[in-house]
């Protein structure tokens, strides 16, 4: 999962995700407004949310997992949600879970423009469901968020390293090309 360069995850991002899980809508909105005002954008929050879902999914589906496990989980989730599940696209939830477990074959479904709007809703719902299923209290969620933040920061470093390697490779390529013309 790529991370935007310069993305920082702060305590206010963690507090906002905590409020999303345990707080009221008003409490979450208050935290989110603070993030928008103080942290100049919601990139850190979105990244933490995405990595929290990824961490929770990998905890839930230990290897070796199968597509059948994912189908069953999503069906059970939709059954539990009853009428609230009507607006959810089961294939999008399945694709998100599979992608977070390392199946890149579903990337197209997740990047399709018509699914972008629903993706945050699906991420949020999945996180709430996984936290409830794992019976995590605030301490448990804090541990999950710390683990997710560490993963995101590690990924950001790898992405920067990769970008630098690409840049260096392009420079070598460019200097090689100029030599060949000299």
């Amino acid at each position: 999962m790529p991370v935007e360069p310069g993305t920082q995850i702060s305590d206010s991002h963690k507090q906002a995700v905590q409020a999303l899980i345990f707080g009221s809508e008003g409490e979450w909105e208050s935290h989110f407004s603070t993030i928008l005002e103080k942290d100049n954008g919601s990139q850190g929050y979105s990244t933490l949310l995405a990595f929290s879902v990824g961490t929770a999914v990998r905890r839930r589906f230990s290897a070796p997992w199968s597509f059948v496990d994912v189908i069953r989980y999503v069906a059970d989730l939709r059954i539990a949600l009853d009428q609230d599940a009507n607006e959810l696209n089961p294939r999008l939830i399945e694709a998100l879970i599979r992608f977070l477990l390392g199946d890149d074959s579903v990337k197209e479904t997740l990047t399709a423009s018509e699914n972008q709007e629903n993706l945050v809703q699906v991420e949020t719902l999945l996180l709430l469901a996984l936290v409830a299923e794992a019976n995590l209290d605030e301490t448990g969620v804090n541990e999950l968020l710390d683990e997710a933040a560490t993963s995101a920061e590690r990924q950001a470093e790898e992405d920067v390293g990769y970008a630098e390697e690409r840049l260096a490779a392009r420079q070598v390529e460019a200097s090689g090309s100029s030599r060949s013309f000299s």
Partner: protein, 151 residues
């Protein structure tokens, strides 16, 4: 023209798992009869199979039972898991139970889902050859009525 013996034989072969026979008979149908009489036959078979599975003593199963069946059906093979959109399959079944809506779906999508759902329902019935023949006779009767009403 009503439903023909060949159309019934083509669908019966498919539901009995005789793939080669189904392919041969289906290839002999022209596009017009596939789009009309054969589609009516498949639709009637789905309606009756759904009824057998999801209606018991006049009581219609709830949406949970439908989600559960579709998930179980998709879990049988990777091909079914990829090919069958759960939302489409669920709406198809619910529509046959008087609860769903497939009006926004195109014919090709519905037909594809009908075949997979029907195959799953019939496999679960574990019909003998005689029971399948009897089921198909009832299906044919329903399809004949639909076709004559639509003509």
């Amino acid at each position: 023209m009503g439903v023909t013996d060949k159309q019934v034989a083509a669908l019966t072969a498919q539901l009995a798992g005789r793939g080669d026979e189904h392919k041969r008979l289906f290839a002999e149908l022209d596009a017009e009869e596939v789009g009309f009489e054969y589609s009516a036959l498949v639709g009637a078979a789905v309606a009756l199979a759904v009824d057998r599975r999801f209606v018991e003593n006049g009581e219609i199963a709830d949406r949970k039972a439908v989600i559960d069946f579709v998930a179980e059906l998709r879990s049988r093979t990777l091909k079914a898991a990829e090919a069958l959109d759960p939302t489409v399959a669920e709406q198809l079944i619910l529509q046959n139970l008087g609860k769903g809506d497939i009006s926004t779906l195109d014919n090709k999508t519905v037909f594809g889902a009908q075949i997979i759902v029907l195959a799953g329902l019939i496999a679960d019935e574990q019909f003998s050859e005689a029971e399948l023949t009897s089921f198909m006779a009832t299906v044919r009767g329903v399809a004949e009525t639909w076709v004559s009403n639509a003509s």
